[in-house]
């Protein structure tokens, strides 16, 4: 356990080395470094897993603390990891599938000029993903949570010269941030509620021990806020819109980030919080409803897509919906089990589609494919294994996990969820085999140049395909309900979910009803495949009735087809309702700032200047005018009296004589 810090640190090391000097290294070295650190992290993960298994089941929860990360007053968070069955399983998936995808990438991305940058981002992603699942408190989880979002942003926009790619990256980040907004408010509410109880902490252990003391109304809000975060990260309605666009990234990225690992973080988070959600089953119902609605909604869009990766993208959204349906109804083990099998088969199918795209010289439109089986047998066979798994065909892995979700929903009385899940399963089988038939069977519809270059991918790409195909085929073993106490997966995960599931697996009723249910879901899956084959598989087409042809369906359901094909116009609606109003509001703010607030400032300045000018005038004309008029008055007066002082002696003598005469006359008369 003491070496657990190596698990995330190794990929970080790889990312640092490749990020700093990767551009100077030969491609071989870059690829080798990236893959080696992943292999090493995988080995350490296996050791950790093994060591955990050696402990008694009740003690399989080890916290390894490294240092105090953020501390302020009573608030303190450690940089610490929690190793328990859930995180141990997750690190195995992340490093294992991650390693395979790194190897695959050395082949797929070999000709890219920014190969080193790609490997750096990919390693960095794995680092953050491991932090997310290993963190022993919400804040370390959030560190990983945002970090994987960052890498997702960087990798979706990896070919940044394409505007659509950098647009998609930005969209992914911003939509995820909307989710994070909820997540972080949920954390604050959780922390302060616990703090009021004298147990303020964000450590899982303390939180889960005290959580039942929080007022259920507050818990409901916390649960919903955290789920907003999960819905953003795991692309649930209404925040799923970024995931289909995320297909702009290189295909191995879609496999690793947008299928196998990052997008399942929301499911992991809800499962991790089972102690919280088991206290508020009504929020669980909301989660399950959102999940199953997303599953159906995305599946309908998947029915009509022609882009090989878009089909897989909608299918991913749909399968994530399944996982939320599972954790929502309290079937945490089933949800995490499906998370694992999905990582195998969806990772496989994305890599397979990458192999196809590689062979087709970048072509992604399935209408220009066809007949590829004869050119690339390994890709074709492995892809079909993946399709069988996701379609829920026994004994492939997807069958066990999907069936467990449906069974648990049924058993717990969520019949609507069960029914919608079953319908979605049929649709999934349909569109997946539509994809298989369009891509690998029939006539090749590509142009001659492309046809000429068709080839199987190099072994660096096919070997990961084969390994993932094996895992997709047999990975369900741990979920086969053979054991007394339920499945191996449950047995292993149970200590983590003891809060949420205790009442469920004590009885272990795996009777005839469950077998009948299995039969029903297999039948539904087979129906989907059969319907797809009538439409798209050449040898079967002749049996199809006239109304069951692609053109006939498209023409008789024109409006619906257009609605689905345009993805319900959701992006347009969001643009109209959210994005454009915000842009307009920004412009309005700008004119308000310049026209009102700054106008006041400038007005104040102008008013001051006006006052100054007026004062100036006042000073000149009134104040100084008064002073000046005084002097003018004096001058004027003096100018009058001045006339008396002529300076001539005769004048003075004359005045004198006249004066004397007047006095004399006055005296003589008086």
């Amino acid at each position: 356990m003491e070496f657990v810090f190596l698990i995330p640190l190794l990929p970080l090391l790889g990312a640092t080395v490749n990020g700093v000097i990767g551009s100077k290294l030969p491609k071989r070295a870059v690829g080798l470094i990236a893959c080696l650190v992943m292999a090493a992290a995988f080995v350490v993960s296996i050791c950790t897993f093994y060591k955990l298994m050696l402990l008694p089941a009740t003690e399989r929860s080890v916290v390894v603390s490294f240092f105090s990360w953020i501390a302020s007053g009573s608030f303190s968070v450690d940089m610490a990891f929690l190793i328990d069955p859930l995180s141990a399983l997750m690190i195995l998936i992340v490093t294992g599938v991650g390693f395979l995808i790194h190897v695959y990438s050395t082949g797929y991305m070999h000709d890219d000029k920014a190969y080193w940058r790609y490997m750096c981002y990919l390693n960095l992603f794995v680092f953050f993903m491991l932090m997310l699942v290993l963190g022993s408190n919400y804040l370390v989880m959030f560190l990983g949570w945002e970090g994987v979002g960052l890498c997702s942003y960087l990798l979706i926009g990896f070919w940044y010269e394409k505007k659509s790619a950098s647009d998609a990256g930005k969209k992914a980040f911003v939509v995820n941030r909307i989710g994070d907004f909820g997540f972080i408010l949920g954390l604050f509410l959780l922390y302060w509620s616990l703090s009021d109880l004298g147990a303020g902490s964000l450590d899982y252990k303390t939180v889960f021990e005290n959580i039942h003391n929080i007022d259920p109304a507050i818990l409901t809000i916390i649960g919903l806020l955290l789920f907003v975060g999960a819905a953003g990260k795991s692309a649930q309605v209404p925040l799923y819109v970024w995931l289909p666009d995320a297909m702009e990234g290189p295909t191995p990225v879609s496999a690793l980030i947008h299928a196998a690992t990052m997008v399942t973080a929301g499911v992991y988070m809800v499962a991790r919080n089972n102690a919280l959600y088991s206290l508020i089953p009504h929020v669980g119902n909301i989660i399950a409803s959102v999940g199953i609605f997303t599953a159906l909604f995305a599946a309908t869009m998947g029915l009509v897509q022609n882009d090989i990766k878009k089909v897989l993208a909608y299918s991913t959204v749909s399968q994530l919906g399944y996982m939320f349906a599972a954790v929502g109804v309290g079937a945490y083990g089933a949800g995490v089990f499906h998370l694992m099998t999905h990582a195998f088969f969806k990772g496989l199918m994305f890599l397979g589609s990458g192999s196809v795209i590689h062979a087709m010289g970048g072509e992604q439109d399935m209408r220009r494919m066809g007949g590829l089986h004869s050119h690339m047998k390994i890709t074709s066979v492995t892809f079909i294994i993946g399709a069988l798994a996701i379609a829920g065909m026994p004994p492939f892995s997807g069958f066990w996990s999907k069936d467990e979700i449906l069974w648990e929903a049924f058993e717990k009385g969520h019949f609507v969820i069960w029914a919608v899940g079953l319908l979605t399963a049929g649709m999934t089988a349909f569109y997946m085999f539509r994809q298989v038939f369009m891509t690998f069977t029939g006539e090749c519809r590509a142009d001659d140049h492309t046809k000429h270059h068709l080839h199987e991918s190099p072994s660096s790409m096919t070997i990961p395909l084969i390994i993932l195909a094996i895992l997709s085929a047999v990975g369900g073993i741990i979920g086969i309900p053979l054991f007394e106490e339920g499945t191996a997966a449950h047995q292993f995960l149970n200590p983590v979910f003891s809060h949420g599931e205790q009442e469920l697996h004590s009885e272990a009723v795996h009777g005839g009803l469950e077998l009948i249910m299995m039969g029903v879901s297999v039948a539904v899956g087979l129906t989907g495949i059969f319907l797809a084959s009538l439409l798209y598989y050449a040898p079967m087409k002749k049996y199809a009735p006239s109304f069951w042809r692609p053109e006939a369906i498209a023409s008789s359901f024109k409006g619906l087809h257009r609605l689905l094909f345009n993805k319900y116009y959701i992006d347009e609606i969001y643009d109209y309702l959210v994005v454009n109003p915000i842009k307009r509001f920004c412009d309005w703010c700008l004119s308000f700032d310049l026209g009102v607030i700054d106008w006041f400032v400038n007005f104040a300045a102008w008013a001051t200047r006006l006052t100054a000018w007026a004062s100036h005038k006042f000073d000149i004309y009134i104040v100084d005018g008064l002073v000046n008029s005084m002097s003018t008055l004096v001058t004027y007066n003096s100018s009058i009296w001045r006339r008396l002082q002529t300076g001539y002696l005769q004048n003075y003598a004359l005045v004198f004589v006249v004066g004397v005469l007047i006095i004399i006359v006055r005296v003589l008369l008086g």
Binding site: W69, S72, G73, G144, V174, I184, F188, L590, D593, V601
Partner: protein, 531 residues
């Protein structure tokens, strides 16, 4: 009177070194530009090293003022030359000396005219800024506050852009306008303290000791608010900032954003909160509203900008709104977050202005639409820009996250509504920053001029590396920074927090005050050196 472990007036030395540097530069012949630059950088670097020495002698376990120096200045009216620092001051002094050195390095090739005068102004500015953060006499504080204005006035006025005259006068007069009110407030406190205790003094620690009547607090708070809010700037006093930033030379913008704005928030945390605790509580709703409007409104404005520098300027309004919200959460998480975010904003936004300066030097335009696709020709530059951008939007693992989370956490406790609105800044911040990044760095190169852009050189990398280092350091191990100021922030939180016991220890002067007005509460604040 010098009280510290070093036995030397280290704070005065910190202020004197740049002044002496400025004096020395005065004797350089104007033509020797390289020598002038090197000397200036050497002086700034030396001062930074000196400020680092403080770290070794600083006792972070106490909120009390350390490295105290005191000398009579104008004894007749109780004005002293009184310096000292606590953890908050220390962080800001370090930020100042760090930013000053970086700013000089960043001006190396951008400023080629009147280099000597430019560097002299930068040095005087540094002295003024340090003075603001260590002055403990209110008149001294006011003097430093005003001193800082003058070199900045010249930096924008002489080396600024085309509308520098307008921007400069706006910046200068607006700040001056606010500071006049502040001076009135200072005098009001002076007389209130004098009439309560019989001792007329501007000594801040003594002013702390008296609990002022609520009415007086209210009015003084208002005057201080005007002085500091304009400087921060708090909405709606922010319009001088974009203009000043756009016209200022790169180093001016860096210092303006990194340090000068912090003088405002520092004022709030040093004076308003502990001196006027009752009024602070009363004003909290008002300030939170303005702060939250600033966060959201600044972000929307940033989104609407066409000029990169204006965008970052408005983002400062948003970020400083967050700092204010944190400080006025009136609890330790919020104040810790606010103080740390002052540093973070200095590092990140300072960094953003640096990278904008670098691209401006190459293209002589800052319009977003003039760029696009420069990641292809300037990969190193683009990578570093991305890191700074992510720090600015508060991605975990970078400094911005730690500050933001503490602010929001503290704010959530005080007002859920304010926290919810403030947290939308998290979304909007990502939106405008990434949109800008996308339009500037990503995409195809659409202009021929951009095809021949040269990637950043060694000196420019050297300028940015410390910034990147700090971003990651604070992000991964914030404790080194938080623990420096923790004692002070805890103390301030204790004073302003609701229901906190207000009577602590009462020295004689305050004792007398309490006897004179028994219904009033007393905050005791001892002063002295390290122990």
């Amino acid at each position: 009177m010098i009280e510290n472990a070093l036995g030397i007036p280290i704070l005065s030395i910190l202020i004197l070194i740049p002044l002496l540097g400025a004096g020395a530069l005065f004797f350089f012949p104007s033509g020797q530009k390289e020598a002038i630059r090197s000397t200036a950088f050497g002086v700034a670097l030396f001062n930074f090293v000196i400020s680092l020495i403080l770290l070794f002698y600083f006792d972070s376990s106490t909120y009390k003022m350390q490295f105290v120096e005191k000398a009579a200045w104008i004894p007749g009216i109780g004005v002293e030359y009184f310096l000292g620092m606590d953890g908050i001051s220390l962080l800001l002094v370090l930020l100042t000396t760090f930013t000053s050195a970086i700013a000089i390095l960043a001006s190396w090739s951008a400023i080629d005219e009147r280099v000597k005068e430019y560097m002299i102004h930068l040095m005087i500015l540094e002295a003024g800024m340090i003075g603001v953060f260590v002055a403990l006499d209110m008149i001294l504080f006011f003097v430093f506050w005003e001193i800082g204005l003058i070199p900045m006035f010249f930096l924008i006025g002489v080396w600024g852009g085309p509308r520098k005259l307008y921007a400069n006068i706006k910046f200068f007069l607006y700040t001056l306008f606010g500071s006049v009110f502040m001076l009135v407030g200072i005098l009001a406190l002076y007389y209130a303290h004098g009439s309560a205790t019989g001792e007329y003094t501007f000594n801040l620690l003594k002013l702390y000791e008296v609990a002022y009547p609520y009415n007086l607090q209210w009015w003084v708070f208002l005057t201080f608010f005007l002085g500091f809010a304009i400087k921060v700037p708090v909405f709606p006093f922010h319009t001088w900032l974009p203009d000043a930033h756009v016209e200022a030379p790169t180093a001016g913008s860096v210092i303006l954003a990194a340090v000068l704005l912090k003088m405002g928030t520092y004022g709030f945390v040093r004076f308003n909160l502990p001196l006027l605790a009752d009024a602070s509580r009363a004003f909290t709703p008002f300030i939170l509203v303005l702060a939250v409007i600033g966060i959201v409104y600044g972000a929307f404005l940033a989104m609407a900008q066409k000029d990169i520098k204006k965008l970052v300027a408005y983002s400062s309004v948003s970020h400083l709104g967050a700092v204010m919200a944190g400080l006025f959460a009136l609890n330790q998480q919020g104040i810790d977050g606010g103080v740390l975010q002052m540093i973070n904003h200095g590092v990140s936004t300072g960094g953003l202005f640096l990278v904008i300066g670098m691209i401006y030097e190459r293209r002589h335009t800052r319009l977003i639409s003039d760029f696009g696709g420069i990641a292809r020709v300037m990969p190193v530059y683009s990578a570093l820009v991305l890191i700074i951008v992510f720090s600015s939007i508060g991605l975990p693992g970078t400094n911005g996250f730690v500050g933001e989370i503490l602010i929001l956490m503290g704010l959530f406790k005080t007002s859920v509504t304010a926290a919810v609105f403030a947290a939308t800044g998290v979304i909007l911040g990502a939106a405008y920053m990434l949109w800008m990044t996308q339009r500037v760095i990503f995409g195809k190169i659409t202009r021929r001029e951009n095809l021949v852009l040269k990637d950043i050189n060694a000196r420019e990398v050297l300028v940015l590396l410390p910034i990147i280092g700090l971003i990651l350091w604070i992000g991964i191990y914030p404790k080194h920074f938080l623990s420096l100021s923790a004692a002070s922030t805890a103390r301030i939180a204790e004073i302003v927090e609701r229901n906190a016991p207000k009577v602590e220890r009462a020295p004689h002067a305050a004792e007398a005050a309490r006897h004179a007005e028994p219904h009033e509460t007393v905050h005791a604040e001892a002063h002295g050196g390290t122990h």
